[in-house]
């Protein structure tokens, strides 16, 4: 028990210090670096709190993909001009500290008042009871793709929408004008050759494992996105779809999900209601399509943030 207490204390301190530094350290680069550390510490916290699915997602999506996005942004412009300051130097930090302390007290009290839910109540036990009916044996996957498939559909829609909006910042909504790096020098090239097969294997495993244990389409998609980004940075231009295949790759996940919804309605089962005996297979197939699409979406988000070649991508200045 005491060892656990010490570990918890170390964990809480690490979270607070890394978050505090990420937020308040001077300098953008240091801030982004500390945010990456924060993400990794957070993954340990999720594991500590009995949420291995969330830990995997945090490591792959929040720390991994978000880290790549932030790093690429911060290396383009490592510095920024000084902030415009309102009022005297001490005013804003003081206001922030007072408001923050007040909010912590209010929200903290509210959260604690929410009271511990009695064991055996809430939705958790119901899900555990009914997981066997869903065609998969892992409760989180059952919630995501069987019980609350609606939420997941909308989640895929949000991701797709974000990609569509980002693409709209480019001329014709295409990415061919974003220059791709040339062939990598031997050392990073060796890393790409070694790491990409391992990552893809890991993504496949996460996808299949998601039916019976922690894992699933989103974690696998994030890994796939990492592999695609590595390939593109390693000089393989075609790894991330930028031209003809761009829109199909981005849209296929949402399209498959919607099609499934309409098929279930046509079969008279109701919107996204899956029945025996195909449901496990259908869920796995849907997850496979989602993995490819999520991987493509996240990789496209990365590429679309980069600067297009001069005089092609952006509209002409007046």
């Amino acid at each position: 028990m005491t060892v656990g207490l010490v570990l918890d204390l170390v964990l809480v301190t690490a979270v607070l210090v890394s978050a505090g530094l990420a937020l308040f350290v001077p300098g953008r680069v240091a801030s982004v670096m500390m945010f990456l550390v924060f993400g990794l510490v957070l993954a340990v916290v999720w594991a500590r709190l009995g949420a291995p699915d969330v830990a995997l997602a945090e490591a792959a999506i929040a720390a991994g993909v978000t880290g790549a996005l932030l790093l690429d942004a911060v290396t383009e412009r490592p510095r920024r001009g000084p902030d415009r300051r309102v009022g005297p130097r001490w005013l804003m930090p003081l206001l922030g500290a007072v408001a923050g302390a007040g909010l912590v007290v209010l929200l903290g009290a509210a959260a604690l008042q929410a009271g511990p839910v009695e064991p055996g109540t809430g939705l958790g036990p119901t899900v555990l009871d009914r997981t066997d009916d869903s065609g998969v044996s892992h409760p989180v996957t059952a919630v995501l793709l069987a019980f609350r498939a609606y939420d997941t559909l909308l989640e895929v829609a949000v991701l797709t929408l974000a990609v569509v909006v980002v693409l709209s910042l480019h001329r014709d909504g295409r990415l061919e004008t974003v220059p791709a790096p040339g062939a990598a020098s031997p050392v990073p090239d060796a890393l790409v050759r070694l790491a990409v097969p391992v990552i893809v294997l890991g993504a496949g495993w996460l996808l299949v494992a998601g039916s019976s244990r922690p894992g699933g389409a989103f974690q696998a998609g994030a890994l796939l996105a990492g592999a695609l980004i590595l390939l593109r940075l390693g000089g393989i231009r075609l790894a991330v779809p930028t031209g003809r295949w761009l829109r199909p790759a981005v849209l296929v996940g949402l399209a498959a999900f919607l099609t499934l919804g309409y098929v279930t309605v046509a079969l008279g089962q109701g919107w996204l209601v899956l029945a025996e005996p195909w449901q496990g297979t259908v869920i796995l197939l849907l997850e496979a399509v989602l993995t490819v699409s999520i991987g493509a979406c996240l990789a496209v988000l990365f590429v679309a943030g980069r600067r297009p070649a001069a005089g092609t991508g952006r509209g002409e200045e007046p």
């Binding site: 050392v187 990073p188 890393l191 790491a195």
Partner: protein, 93 residues
């Protein structure tokens, strides 16, 4: 029992390497010497920690996964320090 003692010793040794590497990171004057401290000490430190955990693994597959983590971390650390060392501007002291 012997395995537990082995684990403990290796863990302590691994943590010592991490501590020394961190000390080097903080104390060395420029990027390349800091990289030197970090990569050597941390790779060894992580290796010792992984080796410490291998006897505690429940199965061969679990032990193999631990070793795979080490191998991947080695490759990644080697590549990133190579890139940092190569592309760093000549040191401005």
């Amino acid at each position: 029992m012997i395995l537990d003692v082995l684990t403990g010793l290796l863990l302590v040794a691994g943590c010592a390497f991490f501590a020394v590497g961190t000390l080097g990171l903080l104390r060395f004057p420029d990027l390349r010497t800091r990289l030197h401290a970090l990569t050597k000490a941390d790779n060894l430190g992580l290796g010792l920690v992984v080796l410490a955990l291998v006897p505690q693994a429940g199965s061969v597959a679990e032990a193999a996964k631990l070793l795979l983590i080490w191998a991947l971390a080695l490759v990644a650390a080697a590549t990133s320090s190579h890139l940092l060392g190569r592309d760093a501007p000549e040191e401005q002291t």
